[in-house]
């Protein structure tokens, strides 16, 4: 496999704050690479370093086999990006916006080609409308068209679903899947939503406080063996004793006031439920979630700034 992006020991510090800490990862050709982390985890800083908006404190970035610092122009000529919000010139039309950014990449297209680009993102009908009249979703799609206008091999999307309504999110998801399947682009997409990344990416990386936590293929990371089940009962000691004396003893991973946690295969959940009922354990609830989701949720909870409201 050909590595499109190779990030090695990337670090960025802003005075006392280390936003990105010794981060290394590789994006292969044809990947939709999910870059996952909470707000403030260091995703945007990493992406900005990748697009030369921010200078790294240390480490190196190679894109298409070239060092970014020395071959900035060649790399950016083959890279398209939407960075955070889809901010574009409000006083220009969608068509003029595409023309302007194509010219910035030294590309000149025919009117039909511009219209095809707008058609691709569902904006052909609004080609002559000013950007100021667009909804957030339309701006985001125009942002994608801008990123694609010079036909780059690599597309970098920083939180592309931020601020979008459910339909906008679905549109964006379909666009990203189309970029991968139909246009054979390599896409690096950052998000703070695990479910979002799970649906579009084939490989992913989770970062927190600027550090890499997990990296791998989505199929590996979302392996069906890795389901975490939380059992809530009215009689937790009895339930615990039952489980310790059963085949599930080795799968117990946590017992606390919230309930009893087990790690097991998804299809084992109904069997476990049946066993508990047969042994007269009153079940208040059984929650099954993927261990990665659980893991990500734990990171999220660890960074909780406001205590949950209890009535």
């Amino acid at each position: 496999m050909e590595a499109i992006i190779k990030v090695s020991h990337l670090t960025k510090t802003f005075r006392e704050l280390t936003a990105v800490n010794d981060l290394s990862f590789t994006v292969q050709k044809g990947d939709v690479y999910g870059f996952l982390g909470q707000n403030g985890a260091g995703k945007s800083t990493s992406i900005r370093m990748l697009l030369t908006l921010i200078q790294p404190t240390s480490g190196s970035i190679e894109v298409f086999g070239y060092n970014l610092q020395h071959h900035r122009k060649e790399i950016l000529r083959n890279t398209g990006a939407v960075i955070e919000r889809p901010d574009l010139y409000k006083y220009l039309s969608a068509y003029e916006t595409l023309q302007l950014f194509a010219a910035m990449s030294s590309v000149k297209l025919t009117r039909q080609q511009y219209m095809d680009q707008l058609e691709l993102v569902g904006l052909a009908q609004r080609a002559n409308s000013k950007v100021r009249t667009f909804s957030q979703g339309m701006k985001q799609r125009l942002g994608i068209a801008v990123a694609l206008v010079h036909n780059p091999e690599l597309i970098v999307l920083d939180e592309p679903t931020n601020g979008l309504d459910p339909q906008g999110i679905a549109d964006m998801r379909n666009l990203i899947l189309m970029l991968r399947e139909k246009m054979k682009k390599t896409v690096l997409v950052s998000s703070h939503l695990l479910s979002e990344v799970e649906q579009i990416a084939n490989r992913m990386l989770i970062i927190d406080k600027g550090k890499k936590l997990v990296e791998g293929t989505v199929s590996e990371l979302f392996h069906p063996d890795d389901t975490v089940v939380l059992i809530e009962t009215t009689n937790q000691p009895a339930c615990e004793e039952l489980l310790r004396n059963s085949n599930y003893a080795t799968q117990l991973i946590g017992i606390d006031a919230a309930g009893i946690e087990l790690k097991l295969r998804k299809e084992e959940v109904p069997v476990l439920t049946k066993m508990l009922i047969e042994n007269n354990i009153s079940i208040l609830g059984i929650h099954a979630c993927h261990s990665l989701e659980d893991y990500f949720l734990k990171i999220t909870t660890a960074n909780q700034h406001v205590e949950p409201f209890k009535n």
């Binding site: 908006l53 900035r72 950016l76 960075i83 030294s106």
Partner: protein
Amino acid sequence: MWSLLKIELFKVFKRPRTYIAFIAVWAIVSLIQLAIYVDGPKYMDFVLRDVKESFDVIGDPLNGYFVCFVILQTLLIHVPLLVALVSADMVAGEANMGTLRLLISKPVSRTKLLLSKFFASAIYAIILLIWIAILGLFLSMVVFGTDGLINAKSYEIIILNGNDVFWRYLCAFGFAALALITVSSLGFFFSIFAENSLGPIVATMSVIIVFTILTTLDIPLFQSVKDFFFTTHMIGWKGFFEMKTDAEGMSIPGTIRNLPAVLRSAGILLLHILIFTGSAIFIFNRKDVLS
């Protein structure tokens, strides 16, 4: 570079804000012209109050050249504000809109990007000046006609022949372009530090106002440094309306009294442009774009 400059000019002239300056200039010039058209003779009497008793004024001193001189003296104090409106917005406005990060992620060097923006703001300043020339000089020439120009100063009165004025205006407008580009480069310099254009506009105008006050204050401490202020040299265009005199004290038409001083002022303004723009490029090339 040319392609980038075209893009920047396209953006500048697509923005409605750009035309505020053109409308403001039109309004001010029209009001001055109307006032002179209605009350011009009274104003002229006031200007020539000390001369009239000693000299006979032949011809019509209230002509297009005189009107343009009044307009220039009035406008060249306010036009820097209008120029700063655009130049201070060149980078800060992009940061505010969020488009700066998109521009920097394109395959163009930051130096070229910044230079194209600086040249676009300089071209804007020149076009604004041409607009002033069209309304202030050419329209005044049409409405009020042409004749000799009376340049009344507190300690002397210079009378220029009608056929010795037009070229002086061309030179004055050229010099004023340099002065406005200096203001433009200052606004541009402040623009790279801010994420909205209000700060750089206020900063530019504050510098101009403070330097102008320090220049006019008759305090020895400031007198020694005022030569380093670009504001001191911005009014150098007036030098084109002064003539050399011969041994008998008679004015020599077609001459400029102190051309080296005018050229020196132009050189100092040019140096300021280079310093402001060069510093902006140097700092911006090392800046993390976080907007």
